[in-house]
Symmetry: C2
Subunit: 116 residues, 2 copies
Amino acid sequence: MDDIMEKFPNQRKRQKDFKCSIGFAMTVIGSKWGAIILWHILKSPHIRYGELKKSIPNISHKILSLELKRLEMDGLIERIAYPTIPPKVEYNLTEKGRSLDNILTELCLWGRKYMV
Amino acid sequence: MDDIMEKFPNQRKRQKDFKCSIGFAMTVIGSKWGAIILWHILKSPHIRYGELKKSIPNISHKILSLELKRLEMDGLIERIAYPTIPPKVEYNLTEKGRSLDNILTELCLWGRKYMV
DNA sequence: CAGTATCCTAAACGATACTG
DNA sequence: CAGTATCGTTTAGGATACTG
């Protein structure tokens, strides 16, 4: 398997280049779907892949997979796979991921306030 | 002049499409440079274009201009132009922009904590 | 069910030159 | 000084088919 990080070349570069800590933070949660995915896992611990997909309208299969893998590599979520047939996979936030709770909540409130 | 929003086609689509308020919020501050620019203006009110450019390493001329224009259209910053020669332009956060203070500060702290 | 692999588009980003 | 305009590159994102 290719290294997942090769799928996000700029994201990696950005993490190295940014002296600014805000810039760094945005490389982690600032993708189109990143924050939304984290939010859903935060609100529904042990959520399964399929439910996650259903709860996020319009996200594509590929992007959800890639982002989940990236978020796992970034240490924000953990993936629990049960070796059953058919497979069952759950996602949870790690400590590092949960530390974004406040920020995500405020982002949500801010968005709700100013969304047209 | 072209409509500035044509330069950010997806950004606009995203604002309309997203039911999710976090998704909406990210379209506003989730670009590569958006949050950083807001942060610098927040920390240095009345900052001039040139100083802003100098204080953000690696940002290109074009992107800084475009983002400033977009942020102005989004109602987050205000632009004050003095009709002198040579011209002098200052940027400030609006009320709406300042309402992001907490989020930006927390993003900064989070990034500093977890940046390698 | 929970993914990969492949192919593709569009959008963000950037270097550089020019302007009032 | 503070921008535009024009060009080009890179990258994120997506449709679809296939797999253990």
